[in-house]
Symmetry: C2
Subunit: 286 residues, 2 copies
């Protein structure tokens, strides 16, 4: 058994085990992207959506995207090694061809796939919800990087290290311009007057797969849902909100900065609709 928190299996460019070049631009500059896939029954959830986001991210950063079938097979093979797991995929621009930030076009992307154990979670978290704080650190705003799940994650590392983080499942983050953006490792939805509102991610933040699924399922259910510029006042007024991520699915917030919140009818309705999608993995085509 690997120690808790260590991956049970690692592949570099499709080869088991494997090590990384000290010239790796993913290390020197964070020049790459990642995906975190929750896998149940030996299969990844929402694989097609993850692959599509990775492809779109590569286009924005100008990184060559490997054949989607090759990547799909690799992720499916990694997921098949355990009943429940979290599979993390990193795709970087590859080892540097020349010194410095500049690219030559001759870089060969690096794929890194890791499978981590994923224990069953306490089902009460889904029903009762979690305690959340507001992070002191604010996210820098850069439209060129907004939405991307890229490898520049020092802000998230520092937010997790803030004093007072213990005892909270997550922290909500604002941007330097005062916009509510997301949790450190999740997206956030506020419920008000029967409408879902989630922060617009045009300045910073990661456009999460589960966020996308919730917006899609809300549309299918005829629930009004908007992406909007949200600020502190919007958060202060809310008594019903929830977090989403590929790993946690949808999780209600029961306490925000010491104030009681509670899941209402709309949150419960979405949880009912998501439950079958979270319990059964896709075949990678949906």
């Amino acid at each position: 058994m690997a120690p808790e928190g260590s991956p049970a299996a690692v592949w570099v460019n499709g080869r088991p085990g494997g090590v990384l070049s000290p010239l790796e631009r993913g290390l020197h500059y964070g020049d790459g992207l990642f995906e975190t896939l929750a896998c149940v029954g030996g299969k990844p959830r929402f694989l097609a959506l993850h692959l599509e986001r990775l492809r779109a991210g590569c286009t924005r950063l100008g990184i060559g995207f490997p054949g989607p079938e090759e990547l799909r097979r690799e992720i499916l093979a990694a997921a098949a090694g355990a009943d429940r797991s979290i599979v993390k995929v990193l795709l970087t621009r590859g080892p540097a061809v020349a010194r410095g930030y500049g690219t030559t076009g001759a870089e060969q992307p690096t794929r890194l796939t890791l499978r981590y154990g994923w224990e069953e979670e306490d089902p009460r978290l889904v029903v009762e919800g979690v305690r959340v704080r507001t992070a002191a650190l604010r996210l820098g705003e850069n439209p060129a990087l907004a939405g991307l799940k890229h490898l520049n994650r020092l802000e998230q590392v520092l937010a997790r290290r803030e004093p007072g983080a213990a005892g909270f499942a997550e922290a909500l983050m604002f941007s330097s311009g005062g916009r509510l953006i997301s949790g450190i490792m999740s997206n956030v939805f506020l419920v008000e007057d029967g409408t879902l509102r989630t922060p617009l991610l045009d300045r910073c933040g990661v456009a999460g797969i589960m966020r996308q699924v919730v917006l899609r399922e809300a549309a299918r259910a005829g629930i009004a849902a908007v992406e909007a510029a949200l600020e502190g006042a919007d958060l202060a007024r809310t008594s019903e909100l929830f977090l989403t991520s590929a790993v946690i699915g949808l999780r209600p917030v029961r306490e925000l900065d010491g104030r009681a919140c509670a899941p209402g009818a709309l949150t419960r309705e979405l949880q009912r609709r998501l439950a079958p999608l979270l319990a059964e993995a896709s075949d990678g085509r949906s």
Copy 2:
């Protein structure tokens, strides 16, 4: 001979050659710092200042700093392998102990040292100066990261990839809030009415070693020099400006976005004062 642009020698945690763990937090999150030292006569320039900046950066990020003597010996040994070289040192929080952004305190930092060849530069660049443009991409503002030479460098990678970058030695960057910050890989000084002004780096940007040396030498020479909040109007008014970095030393700008600029008496005076410091390396104590 290593191909041009590839390092001639690499050490990982002091061992020659060496590869990196796929769990490296420097790769997953950019959770680390780096230094780029210019070495002449087989010795690094301004080694003590680089070591002090690295130590201060570790304190801000909560990364354990290795014994400075050990690091000093490693850098001196790397520099001794060639007459002229660029030695790059990366120091990361090390391989992840657990999945996710959070740290446990049990992480063991990784040191990566690379020596690159460094050819003699065209002396006309120092005399005549270089062509500079303004980058379209703006830097995100985050005081928690401002000044640090950390590994989250996607903004710099994207700025280097902008269309129209060819033919320019450097691009000046503004922040999301409209402040002039720096070049992509250098700091900038504007000269006006006998005073040096360089952008305040309290929101973003890297506090460069050569920037620090120029401020110190200006003070010793009785030249007025201030760190200030500078904006586009300040830049538009300037006809004398220069770039600094550990590698280029001090380099005048001869053209900014198509407009002619020229080094004046103050730039020349600083160049005269810096010349002996750049020609001879320190013994690492100064």
